[in-house]
Symmetry: C2
Subunit: 109 residues, 2 copies
C-alpha cells in the first residue's frame, strides 16, 4: 500500500486515530487513499500533523480556528470585511472616528 495506515500515523503523530479521521473529514489533513479506501499517510501528512500539534500547544489553536484562518485566506471578500471592521475597532483615534465623535453630540436622545 505504500504509506502509513491511520493507526500507525496516529502512533507517530501523537494524535488518536479518531482525530486523524476527524481532521480528514474537515479537510485539515487529508491523506490519500488505497484502492480499498484505507487512509495512507506520507511524510507530508506527518509533518502537517506535527505542525498542528505545535500550533495547539504553543497558541491554543484548535482545528476550528485553522478552518477559519483558511477561510480568511481563500475568501478575499471575507478578509476585507473582517479587516475593515477590526481596523475601525483598533484605531479609536483615527480621523474617521474623530469625525464621528463630532456628530455624537447631535445624537443626544
Amino acid at each position: 500500500m505504500n504509506g502509513l495506515t491511520v493507526t500507525e500515523a496516529a502512533a507517530r503523530s501523537g494524535w488518536s486515530a479518531r482525530m486523524l479521521r476527524y481532521l480528514d473529514e474537515h479537510g485539515l489533513v487529508v491523506p490519500r487513499r488505497s484502492e480499498g479506501g484505507y487512509r495512507l499517510y506520507g511524510l507530508a501528512e506527518l509533518n502537517r500533523l506535527a505542525g498542528l500539534r505545535d500550533l495547539r500547544t504553543r497558541f491554543g489553536i484548535d482545528p476550528a480556528h485553522l478552518a477559519f484562518a483558511r477561510r480568511l485566506r481563500r475568501e478575499p471578500d471575507l478578509r476585507g470585511a473582517v479587516d475593515a471592521w477590526l481596523a475601525a475597532a483598533d484605531d479609536s483615534s483615527s480621523w474617521i472616528e474623530w469625525e464621528q465623535r463630532k456628530h455624537e453630540r447631535l445624537l443626544a436622545a
Copy 2:
C-alpha cells in the same frame, strides 16, 4: 448623559440588549460609561454594531471568529505560524512538497 442607553442602542442596531452587554464583556463593542455606570452608545458604536450584523449575515461570522481574527492581527508569531501551516497545506505542488514525496517511497512500512 449624552448617548444611547443599551436598550435604545439595541432597538437601533437589531441586537438584543443582552447581546450588547455580551459584546461589551468580550471587548468587541465597548461603549463608554456614564457616571453611574450606564453604557452609552454613540455613532461609532452603532456603526460597529451594524458592521458586526453585516459580517454575520453575509459570512456567518460570530463574535468568537472576530476575536480570533483580532488575535491574528495582534500576535505576529501566531500569524506567522498559522500562515506557514496553511501555505504548506495549499501548495500541494510546491518544491518542498515535491522533495518530500521523494522520501515517501522510503517510508513503505
